[in-house]
């Protein structure tokens, strides 16, 4: 049995390394001044990528759009999901199974299909009724997303409803409440925590969604679609910086939630008075979810402020100089080699295309070096090269 526990533990460690490894590496790359996100070679510790991130107008516009769309989706998907869960709880079992299948289906249908069907339908409607106003990216994205995000909300409500004691409603009716009063005073308060988590999940799902949104958003862009087009057209560590921000928010949320859950559990179980942690007024205040949250936010604020004061330009200049020297060397070596090759054949050197990609990085708008690499991977062109050339523009952008 002991051997099995050991094996289980080892497996769990390996599994969670797989889950967190990529994230940890991405986080590290956010602080490396290298133009391409990577851990080695480590150049300089920098916080400049955060500034670069906030300076990206397209992403910031997308963020605003995502907030607008997210608010619309939460406002519609939560009530619809609640209605679905309530309907399922009242239907006779055979009909319930059918309706459940219909309502859960949008989760399984590929997002691409949902997006297409939404724009096709509303395109026809706006043509047929002359309601062109409906045919805009915000409306279509909200409509397209709630089709399946409502089902997420519904699953949350179903789970909560299953724990509802139906005699509570009966007791309220028996004590003289009207059905409406029983619904408002008994069932809705019971569902309140689920409404909170459903709102959170729907907001996250709306924010995250790419497959449906990329069709329905038309010429606008949301945060995620802007992000995707940035990744597709060339990557830089400002995306890692974004990941750092999201992971930080997630961790703060998770820790605050944990503090809240523990406190609630302790209070519900009547353990609150017995636990020394909750008995002592100081530790009791310290473990309050609000205080935990405030402390975490405070730490982040201090770290961010310290980070924003960090100046890596000296180090970067040194690295740049070193690279330029090395580049000079390489260029000289290459020149010598090209001359040697030209003696043998008159065709163009193979490494030319790799160079083109590397220089393209200077412009910023054209694909960055790394995205060009898979298309033309040449062992002779060390990718350190692309990074070196790209690095030239970095200090300028930060000004």
């Amino acid at each position: 049995m002991n051997r099995n526990t050991l094996f289980g533990g080892a497996y769990a460690v390996a599994f969670f390394s797989f889950l967190f490894g990529p994230l940890v590496i991405m986080v590290i790359t956010a602080f490396n001044s290298s133009k391409f996100p990577r851990v080695v070679p480590w150049e300089c510790f920098t916080t400049g990528w955060f500034g670069e991130l906030f300076g990206n107008q397209r992403l910031m516009d997308g963020l605003l759009n995502s907030v607008i769309i997210g608010a619309g989706v939460v406002a519609l998907a939560v009530p619809i999901g609640l209605a679905g869960a309530l309907a399922l709880s009242e239907l006779p079992s055979k009909l319930r199974a059918t309706l459940y299948t219909v309502l859960i289906l949008p989760i399984l249908i590929p997002g691409v299909v949902l997006g297409i069907s939404t724009i096709v339908l509303w395109g026809q409607i706006s043509r047929g009724f002359g309601a062109g106003g409906l045919y805009n990216g915000y409306f279509l994205t909200i409509v397209g997303q709630i089709t399946f995000i409502s089902a997420y909300a519904m699953l949350v409500f179903i789970a909560r409803l299953q724990r509802f004691d139906a005699t509570q409603t009966e007791a309220a009716l028996d004590l003289g409440a009207t059905p409406g009063q029983a619904f408002r005073k008994i069932l809705l308060p019971f569902m309140a925590p689920a409404i909170g988590s459903a709102a959170f999940i729907t907001l996250l799902a709306s924010f995250e969604n790419y497959n449906t949104t990329v069709f329905t958003v038309l010429s606008e862009s949301t945060f995620t679609t802007a992000l995707a087009s940035k990744v597709r057209h060339g990557t830089d560590p400002s995306l890692s910086a974004l990941a750092v921000i999201i992971i930080t928010i997630t961790l703060v949320g998770a820790l605050t939630n944990e503090a809240y859950q523990r406190r609630k559990e302790a209070e519900m179980g009547g353990r609150a008075s017995r636990s020394p942690l909750y008995a002592n007024p100081v530790t009791r205040a310290l473990t309050h979810p609000g205080v935990v949250f405030a402390i975490l936010v405070g730490i982040i604020a201090v770290v961010s402020f310290a980070g924003s004061r960090h100046d890596s330009s000296m180090c970067e200049a040194a690295v740049l100089q070193e690279k330029l020297d090395r580049q000079e060397e390489l260029r000289a070596a290459q020149k010598a080699r090209i001359e040697a090759e030209q003696k043998q054949q008159s065709t163009l050197p193979k490494s030319n295309s790799a160079f083109g990609g590397a220089f393209g990085g200077l412009g910023g708008a054209t694909p960055a070096p790394e995205s060009a690499e898979p298309a033309a991977p040449k062992p002779e062109s060390p990718s350190a090269f692309g990074g070196a050339f790209g690095g030239i523009t970095a200090p300028k952008l930060e000004e």
Binding site: T167, Q168, A171, D174, G176, Q181
Partner: protein
């Protein structure tokens, strides 16, 4: 309390079940229930689970309508009147206290939905807490209460609407034995204090017999017998009642002759004379059952004497439960402990037993309660 606050004479708090039948599809849950529960009475429905007693209770409280017949409360027909409009209050099996509200809010809920002001509600809740002897717990959470406290809070909440009828659906079943026995006394006391009609549902005959003014025994949707607890016990009218309420020995036999109130029954153990249950008439040769309780089987010759072989015994302090075989049936005999003056018989010993004809009942052959 609702009683004293009203200047006019005691209202009619009776319940009349007028040929009530409740069916779900082909299944008959309640079959032709026809009885009157008097104003201010403590009335119990006793029966095994699935006998239809909870269905009947839900029908009185208004959660379902009878398929046939009528329910009258205080002389008024309740057809089409919802549970929130009936002068009844129901205590649920698991109490159904609202966990998200404080104790006081729970008790004041019926007043809240009737639009009573907050101050007035609080005052009334405190009065009711006083009545159930739990003053000052109004601001506690429901989860902080003990089982017995929850029980009493549920009663206070039900009484807050000043109902004419309080319906209780096995509310004590979740409590441990000691608390259950204590709550029996308490419930009875509260009922006497407020004067409200209590209709109590239970499968526990001890509860039904100790608390009730009258008991209705139900089996498979049918009300088998209605009466005072001692009559239910001593004068059962059906084989089911005889076997479900208390311990009983059943002997199968054939009627030899009936003469008025008594009849003679031929059994494999001999011919016995006993009272005829339910005022029925038998012909010679009819099959019948003779029921005699363990404590009515007494040692020594006399009326209805027979011999039996002792197989085993269970000594339980005040009582010694003796099991004896006679013919092909095993009989249960309860003997009062006579102290050191008496001596316990040993296994294999032959006992001479007998019983008075008036203490045994002849009943028609029918289904008996299976768990005894």
């Amino acid at each position: 309390m609702p009683d004293t606050s009203r200047p006019d004479q005691t209202p009619d708090r009776s319940v009349l079940l007028d040929h009530v039948s409740i069916r779900f599809g082909n299944f008959t849950a309640v079959d032709n229930a026809n009885l009157k529960i008097n104003s201010g009475e403590f009335f119990s429905f006793l029966g095994p689970s699935g006998c239809g007693k909870t269905t009947l209770l839900r029908c009185i409280s208004g959660f379902s309508e009878p398929t046939e017949g009528k329910v009258l409360i205080g002389g008024k027909d309740m057809a089409g009147v919802g549970p929130n409009k009936r002068p009844t209050a129901l205590i649920f099996q698991h109490l159904a206290l609202f966990p998200l509200m404080s104790v006081a809010d729970n008790i004041a809920f019926p007043l809240e939905v009737r639009g009573v002001s907050k101050k007035e509600r609080r005052k009334r809740a405190d009065e009711l807490l006083e009545m159930i002897a739990l003053p000052g717990i109004g601001d506690k959470k429901v989860s902080e209460l003990s089982g017995g406290q929850k029980q009493r809070v549920a009663i206070a909440r039900a009484l807050a609407v000043e109902p004419d009828i309080l319906l209780l659906d096995e509310p004590l079943s979740a409590l441990d034995l000691k608390l259950r026995q204590h709550m029996r006394t308490e419930l009875r006391a509260i009922q006497k204090q407020v004067g409200v009609t209590f209709i109590y549902i239970t499968h526990d005959q001890g509860e039904a017999l100790t608390m009730s003014d009258r008991v209705a025994v139900m089996s498979k949707g049918v009300i088998e017998q209605v009466g005072e607890p001692d009559r239910i016990y001593n004068r059962p009218r059906s084989a089911f009642v005889a076997s479900f309420v208390g311990e009983n020995n059943a002997l199968q036999g054939v009627i030899k002759v009936q003469s008025g109130e008594t009849a003679a029954l031929d059994t494999p153990m001999g011919t016995f004379e006993a009272r005829v249950g339910g005022g029925r008439k038998y012909k010679a040769g009819d099959k019948a059952l003779l029921f005699v309780r363990p404590e009515q089987l007494v040692p020594g010759a006399g009326d209805n004497a027979f011999e039996a072989t002792l197989t085993r015994q269970e000594f339980e302090g005040a009582t010694n439960h003796v099991f004896a075989k006679a013919g092909d049936s095993e009989l249960r005999v309860s003997m009062v402990n006579a102290g050191l003056a008496g001596s316990l018989p040993a296994a294999g010993e032959t006992l001479s037993l007998g019983f008075a004809p008036m203490n045994a009942t002849i009943l028609p052959v029918a289904d008996m309660a299976s768990d005894t």
